[in-house]
């Protein structure tokens, strides 16, 4: 095999390696250290072995937060991916309408997370919020501050509003990259709109859909700011997701050891599921069983 290799290229990767080391590897190693110690300060600490893992794994609050987190991510993927594909298919392909649609789609993505939470906290309030008032005026009792179902709906709708545009933009880019020749061949064969979607557009979007599913899964699994601003994890613990539970332990109670143990479990779940998603989606349609 005649393969030319230039190892000097590794030096070009060095800045990225340094940034990743500082922003990811060092904190990860610190968390692993903390997970096995009772930490009062860097100097005042005691080795406790696997005690924190045993206690957090038996903690009902963690089990509840974990179940809520999985349900939330599942619902988000179930809604945002098909909706994103549908909107991308419905968007104009060219002209000023395409530009306008793209700008409108990008707008929610430009708003910071805490501002999104504040907007929806006010908008969905039953007393002064336009959205909450409207739903109640329609005769549907709605108050996210004391009804867990309403709180869940508010957070899901908020996330769909905030992040579906990302799926739309990714799918739109994938759709625009399909050469016209494919559509011409399908027209000659008399293919229906469904068959064009099923056999041309969907397979051609596989790459961008993989990115969309991974990004939306990881982001929704780590969601913190928006539900914290809107519901603060309530009513009760109804919207206490993993990251909110973790913050309560780490910052609220300053239990750094148990918080570190939860962080490691959290990290392992995201790592495992991302690996599974990645493998299933990259092998889908290639003839290899995933």
């Amino acid at each position: 095999m005649d393969k030319i290799e230039n190892n000097k290229a590794w030096f070009l990767v060095l800045p990225v390696f340094v940034i990743v080391a500082i922003s990811a590897i060092i904190p990860l190693m610190t968390v692993v250290n903390y997970a096995f110690q009772d930490i009062f300060s860097p100097q005042d600490r005691y080795w406790v072995g696997t005690e924190w893992f045993e206690s957090v794994l038996a903690d009902d609050d963690l089990h509840g937060a974990l179940i809520r987190q999985f349900v939330f991510s599942f619902v988000i993927l179930l809604v945002e991916i098909p909706l994103g594909i549908a909107l991308a298919l419905a968007m104009p392909a060219r002209g000023w309408r395409a530009s306008l649609a793209l700008v409108l789609m990008a707008l929610p993505l430009l708003i910071p997370w805490n501002v999104v939470g504040t907007i929806w906290q006010v908008f969905a309030r039953a007393d002064i919020g336009l959205g909450g008032w409207l739903v109640n005026a329609l005769g549907i009792p709605y108050n996210y501050t004391n009804d867990p179902v309403a709180a869940w709906l508010t957070i899901v709708v908020m996330d769909v509003w905030h992040w579906t545009p990302l799926v739309v933009l990714l799918c739109y880019a994938g759709l625009r990259a399909i050469p016209d020749a494919y559509y011409q061949a399908a027209a000659i064969d008399g293919a229906s709109a469904w068959k064009v979607f099923r056999y041309i557009e969907l397979p051609k979007m596989r790459g961008v859909l993989l990115i969309a599913v991974l990004l939306r899964f990881m982001d929704s699994f780590m969601i913190y700011t928006e539900p914290f601003v809107v519901t603060g994890g309530g009513p009760g613990n109804a919207t206490t997701f993993l990251s909110i539970h973790l913050t309560k332990i780490a910052i609220g109670q300053m239990d750094l050891g148990p918080a570190a143990a939860i962080s490691i479990i959290y990290f392992l779940i995201i790592l495992t599921l991302s690996f599974v998603f990645y493998n299933v989606m990259t092998r889908m349609g290639t003839g290899e069983r995933a």
């Binding site: 060092i26 190693m29 610190t30 692993v32 250290n33 903390y34 096995f36 110690q37 930490i39 860097p42 100097q43 600490r45 080795w47 696997t50 893992f53 045993e54 794994l57 038996a58 479990i265 392992l268 790592l271 495992t272 690996f275 493998n279 092998r283 290899e288 069983r289 995933a290």
Partner: protein
């Protein structure tokens, strides 16, 4: 230098965790060396997909972590048994995965 010393102090290093990360770093170095000496070839074993050597190491390590966590959550016996099981799993994935 002072900043680096503060950073290392704040990481609250302990010997077992240090040895663990040294082991992981050594494993990565060995894997890199092996890749240069004997480039990996994708193969299909008992895992439901084709894997490279690196994939199998990753799956083996991930599985080992889950075995330890499951043991802590479900079994009252000492953790050494989980470690033995994890080593067996790791070897199985590397050889037949």
């Amino acid at each position: 230098m002072e900043a680096l010393a503060t950073l290392i102090r704040s990481m609250a290093w302990t010997m077992p965790v240090g040895l663990f990360f040294a082991g992981v770093a050594l494993l990565l170095l060995v894997m890199t060396g092996l890749q240069f000496a004997y480039p990996t070839i994708e193969r299909k074993g008992f895992l439901p997909m084709t894997t490279t050597r690196g994939d199998r190491v990753f799956i083996g390590l991930l599985g080992a972590a889950w075995i330890h966590l499951a043991w802590l959550a479900l079994v009252a016996s000492p953790l050494w048994w989980a470690s033995i099981l994890a080593v067996l799993w790791f070897a199985l994935v590397l050889r037949f995965g």
